[in-house]
Symmetry: C2
Subunit: 341 residues, 2 copies
């Protein structure tokens, strides 16, 4: 049991007195028949020598690995951290290793990483971050993913906009529509929206849902009711500042993501503006931090960990037929939103 790295299949075979082919079969194919005595001998030898297969040799021979690729925009964001947690636990259950990369919302980086992962022959590719509005990038991604899928890879997206692979569809539009609807029914008439970069499809969808919800009641957002900032706490801070500095500050501040709403809450607090008395605030996502916020954050709750698990589950299925799992977003009204005074 010395340095295992020196133990090759060959050594096991020799030790067990069988051919290397037989050893390979006994060790890696449970459904393989073979004489029970032989099998035991091989397993015993492997155990005794501390044999561990070289995954690269295996990958080279079989043209497939035992890893999966996980592409997120930013792990530091709890949204992705939770989702990743879900992916990782299902992957573990299946004995798969997870290769995680962060694009920081840069399409070029995303493409580069996807290529890298495909080159690694990952078994599956989970694309967790929102797709971009970028035709050239889409085309390049499609080319990669198509070839990947044809070579046996499995792809699942947690965003619309990729006409390939399985899909975990978070109902961004519907969730935000219902939330906006609820805000109007609470009595709000003036809104300020803290949005992220418009090149993200997810941002567009949430914005669209928001508009639908308001429109239902005849409310239409004007150009400067929406401010586009970074999809982060800091973005939320600056967004709140911009909107609250207008001559007519809105009565309800709706952010397209919890992190942004949390940032907004922080800015409001620092500036002595009380929530929900002077302004209501809402988010989207359902981060644990939303529950601990003071006042507790009204938001659209999405079961992020389960989304990750579902994505990884789908990744295990054959690419055809394509599956779509819809995930509802449930508006949860908490203290950060109330009827305007």
């Amino acid at each position: 049991m010395a340095d295992h790295s020196l133990v090759r299949l060959q050594d096991v075979a020799a030790h067990a007195g069988v051919s290397i082919a037989t050893a390979s079969r006994m060790l890696s194919d449970p459904s393989y028949g073979g004489r029970a005595a032989l099998r035991e001998r091989v397993l015993a030898s492997a155990a005794e020598l501390g044999y561990r297969a070289n995954p690269h040799a295996r990958a080279l021979a079989t043209a497939s690995s035992t890893s999966v690729g996980l592409v997120v925009h930013d792990v530091r964001d709890s949204y992705f951290a939770l989702l990743s947690g879900g992916v990782i636990s299902v992957a573990e259950r299946e004995g798969l290793l997870v290769n995680m990369v962060c694009t920081y919302r840069d399409p070029a980086r995303e493409l580069e990483y996807v290529k890298r992962l495909i080159d690694q022959r990952v078994r599956a590719l989970v694309l967790a971050g929102s797709a971009f509005r970028d035709t050239a990038h889409d085309a390049a991604m499609r080319t990669e993913l198509l070839a990947y899928q044809e070579s046996g890879g499995s792809v699942v997206s947690v965003t619309r906009g990729r006409d390939i692979g399985h899909l975990v569809q978070i109902d961004n539009i519907g969730g935000m529509r219902r939330l906006a609807d609820a805000m109007v029914e609470l009595g709000h008439t003036s809104f300020g929206v803290i949005a992220g970069p418009l090149r993200l499809l997810t941002v567009r969808d949430r914005l669209q849902g928001l508009r639908q919800g308001l429109k239902k009641h005849g409310i239409v957002l004007r150009r400067d009711d929406v401010v586009y900032t970074d999809l982060s706490r800091e973005g939320g801070l600056s967004g709140a500042q911009t909107l609250m500095s207008r001559r007519n500050p809105p009565g309800c501040l709706m952010a397209v993501a919890d992190v942004m709403a949390l940032g907004a809450l922080s800015w409001l607090r620092s500036n002595g503006i009380s929530v929900p008395e002077e302004v209501s605030v809402t988010g989207f996502g359902g981060l644990p931090a939303a529950v601990d916020a003071v006042p507790r954050l009204t938001t659209v709750e999405v079961p992020l960990e389960r989304v990750g698990e579902t994505a990884m589950d789908l990744a295990l299925r054959p690419p055809s037929p394509r599956h779509t799992v819809e995930v509802e977003g449930a508006p949860v009204l908490r203290e950060s939103a109330a009827a305007p005074r």
Copy 2:
């Protein structure tokens, strides 16, 4: 540029009219001389054919890969999410892929994963989670890591307790000592400690620091002043409940981690106990959420992302000489802690 996965080095060599050996050298060894004309021809062919080296073939031939392993306890915890963000960005800079695994604080799982990663011939192993107090496990880990290091692998721990590889040493003891000290100087005399599982060295260290800080002022914790719970928000909730339900509730609740303190804050709020008027609360870590908490959380701030970057930086260095980078934890006093009434 059809299906790249069919393009092998051989094809590039043929296309460029050189031997496969030359093609290999031109493509993967920038320091290789060679006729400039030839080099250009090879590069052009590779580009034209859309060649991408098979990393497994490369790994098999060189016995080393272009990935690093990252072992954390739980990505869903912001502490590790931030740290991972740091590791990932430095890895990206170096063109390395990160294999991330979560142990959920289970030694057996940790060992299993470490083996898996070593088998993958990861270039480096970043062990970010606290080590355990478990002699058998330590021995097994040591054996693995030693062999790994001897075969050229680089290991760095963000915890004491592993006498091997580089070390990013967060000053758990000192940070907690200074924080406890500050609490006493604020006027506190009775303490309740929300601790995590004692099998984690990090928990032990923070506890030790805490005791040192109190002892300096002649304060000694009694047995039931400390409650050991899960290292999570829920643990914090139940810990606060236990301690505040005593006949003599403490005036200052100190948790060994921010998530726990946040959970405690939540429990106190739900139960109408005001902070810091009735009880002060402190954490450890410096999560962004600590700043957004209400009242803002007093804690020991650790630059988590930088810790991750530093760890990955060290991972790039040769194993010898061994480096230790000390990271200070700075107590930051915020509204959650105040003089007792």
